[in-house]
Amino acid sequence: MKIVIASGKGGTGKTTVATNLAFLLAREGLRVAYVDCDVEEPNGHLFLQPVIEREWPIEKPVPVVESQRCTQCGRCSKACRFGAIISLPQRTVVFPELCHACGGCQLACPAGAISEKGRRVGTVRAGYAGTIQFLGGELDIGQPMSPPVIRALKETPLEADLVFLDAPPGTSCPVVETLRGADMALLVTEPTPFGLYDLQLAIRLVRALSIPAAVIVNRVVKDGEPFLQWRQRLKQLPVPVWAEIPESRAIAEAYSSGTIIAQNVPEFARELQPVMHKLKASIDEGTCRHQW
C-alpha cells in the first residue's frame, strides 16, 4: 500500500509524521519503505540516518543536434512548445532547462539529425535505516523541474507492504507526481489559519485525483477558544481526522536535533497509535475505508 504524506503548507510536520510512522510500523515487524519525494529540500535522511548502499544520477533525455545532418529547416523549433530548441540560420540551439523531454523535436526532424542524450538533473539514493527501506531523491541546485526525479523514485522497485511517500509542500506538479497512483494520502496540518487554508487546497487536490485521505493535526494547544473555533471549521471539511498531536517542547527539541521522535518521546508514539491501527486495518482489508 502506498501512502503519501502531504500538506499544502510547508513545515507542518510531513517528514516528522512519515519518518515516525515508518519507524513505529517497522518496529512492529511490517516491511516498510520510506521514499523522500521532496526532492527540492529532502530532509528524511536527517532523521532516519540510512546507510546508503546505492546512489545513481537521474537524467532527463534532451535533444542533441548533429550539425552535419541538420538542414536548418526549423521544424524542430516549430514542434517544440517550450522554446527549448531554436533553429538559427547557422546552427540549432538547445536549451536543456526548458526541455520537457517529450521527444517532439526528434519526431519532427526530417533529416534524422536529432538524437537524445541524458542530462543530469538529480540523484537517487537507496539504502536501509534498520529494517526500513530508504529511497531519497535530490534535485540538483539550479534545476527547475523536479518531476523527473520524483518519477525516477517511483519507478525504483521496493519490497514492502507499506510505502510512505513524503511529498513536497504545495499543490502543483511535483505534488501531483508524488500522489499519482497512491492508495491514500495523510494530510498533515497545523491549527492556524494558514494551515487550514492550505489544507483545503490539499483536499481539493486529492479529491481531483480520487485518492482517499485523512488528516493529522500537528502542534495542537487544546485549551482556548481560538483552537475550538478552528477545530469547528476543520470538522466541516469532508475528511476524517485521525490524530491530534499536541504541541510540546520535548517533541520540538527532538525534532530540531534530528532524531526519531517516537524513539525518545513516548507520548509522541502514543499519539500516532490510532493512525497505525487504521493503517494496519487498511492493509488487512487491502483498501482504504474513506472514499470521496
Partner: protein
C-alpha cells in the same frame, strides 16, 4: 525601485509572518505573494480586491471524439502517460481515448502526429491573479488551480505586474513572499531581485535546506541575508547556521525568538507588529530597519528587466547573449 524576496528553502519557517510584518512597517509598498501553490499572505493583510484576471498557463491537448478513429498512435507517442484509454475506465467511452489534464504537459506531440488530426491544443485557464489594496499598500496575489503546472510562469506574471504597477505609482519598494523549495517557482521569484532574505529555523532540516537555498541565490547572482526564526529553541544549531551563512556570504541580520504572539496574531488575522510588542515583534522591527539599509546599497530593479529572461533559463542567464 528595490525588490526584496523573502525565501526559505524549507517550508513553514515563517516567511509569510515576517513578510506581513515588513509590509506593514514599510508602508507604502507593493507586496507580491509568489507562493501561488499555497498563498497565505491575504489571510493576514486582509486586502480588498480591485482587479481580477485569469491566468492562462500553457495549453492542454483535447481529443475531438467524433474524428478520433482510436488508432492508438497518441498513446504510443505520449511520454507523460496522459492519454487514458483503458477499457473499464469509467470516464472513457468504450474503447475511447481521453486526455488526463493533470498529466498532460501540452507538448503537442499527439496533436502533430495524429493521422486523423483529431487532437487540438486548447488554452488552459489554470488560475486567477488579483490586484488588491490593503492598509499598507497594494498586494498582488494569485490562486493556481490545484494540480496545475506553470507555477513559475504565474510567478513571473505576478512579479511583472507588480513591477509595472510600482514603477507607474513611484512606489520605491516591492516585497515578495516566495514559495518553499528550490525549483521552478522559487527560481522565478528570485531572478533579478535586489536582495533575498532567507528565513530559516535552528533544526537539522532548517540548516540543511538553508544551505541549498543559499547556494541557489549564489548561482542566480542574487545577494542574500539570513534571519533565524525561533532562534532560541536550539542555540547550538543557530550558531551552526550563522557559521554556515558566513561561508555563503549571506550573513545573519537578525534572530527572532520563539513567541506565541506570532500564532496569536495570525489567529487574529493581523501582522504580529500590529498587535504585539513582544520579543518577536521587537526583533522584526529591528530586522526591518537593517534590511532597509541593506536595500539602499542593493541594485535597483527596473520594470520589465527580468521579464525577457524566461524563468527556467538559468543557463542562458549565466552565459548571457541568448534571448528568447
Amino acid at each position: 525601485m528595490k525588490e526584496l524576496v523573502v525565501i526559505s528553502g524549507k517550508g513553514g519557517t515563517g516567511k509569510t509572518s515576517l513578510t506581513a510584518a515588513l509590509a506593514v512597517l514599510s508602508s507604502p509598498c507593493v507586496v507580491t505573494d509568489c507562493d501561488v501553490d499555497a498563498p497565505d499572505l491575504h489571510l493576514v493583510l486582509q486586502p480588498q480586491t480591485i482587479q481580477q484576471q485569469p491566468f492562462v498557463g500553457g495549453r492542454k491537448a483535447c481529443i475531438i471524439t467524433s474524428t478520433c478513429r482510436k488508432c492508438g498512435k497518441c498513446v504510443e507517442l505520449c511520454r507523460f502517460g496522459a492519454i487514458r484509454h483503458k477499457k473499464g475506465d469509467a470516464e472513457c467511452e468504450e474503447g475511447g481515448f481521453l486526455i488526463d489534464a493533470l498529466a498532460c504537459e501540452g507538448c503537442g506531440v499527439c496533436v502533430d502526429h495524429c493521422p486523423e488530426r483529431a487532437i487540438e491544443l486548447r488554452p488552459n485557464v489554470n488560475g486567477q491573479w488579483y490586484l488588491s489594496r490593503f492598509h499598507g499598500g497594494y498586494l498582488f496575489h494569485a490562486t493556481l488551480d490545484v494540480g496545475s503546472e506553470n507555477s513559475g510562469k504565474l510567478v513571473t506574471q505576478l512579479r511583472r505586474a507588480a513591477h509595472e504597477f510600482a514603477t507607474k505609482r513611484g512606489v520605491p519598494l516591492i516585497l515578495t513572499d516566495g514559495p518553499p523549495g528550490i525549483g521552478c517557482p522559487v527560481i522565478a521569484s528570485l531572478t533579478g531581485a535586489s536582495l533575498a532574505l532567507i528565513v530559516t529555523e535552528p533544526t537539522v532540516a532548517g540548516l540543511h535546506d538553508f544551505e541549498r537555498i543559499a547556494r541557489l541565490c549564489r548561482q542566480l547572482g542574487v545577494p542574500a541575508v539570513t534571519v533565524i526564526n525561533k532562534a532560541d529553541i536550539n542555540p547550538e544549531t543557530s550558531d551552526r547556521i550563522a557559521n554556515s551563512s558566513i561561508r555563503y556570504g549571506t550573513d545573519v541580520i537578525g534572530m527572532i525568538p520563539f513567541d506565541s504572539d506570532i500564532v496569536r496574531a495570525q489567529m487574529a488575522a493581523r501582522s504580529v507588529v500590529e498587535v504585539s510588542d513582544g520579543p518577536a515583534a521587537r526583533a522584526m522591527r529591528a530586522i526591518h530597519s537593517t534590511v532597509m539599509s541593506r536595500l539602499e546599497k542593493a541594485l535597483d530593479v527596473h520594470s520589465g528587466e527580468f521579464i525577457t529572461i524566461d524563468v527556467t533559463q538559468i543557463d542562458n542567464v549565466k552565459s548571457k547573449g541568448v534571448t528568447t
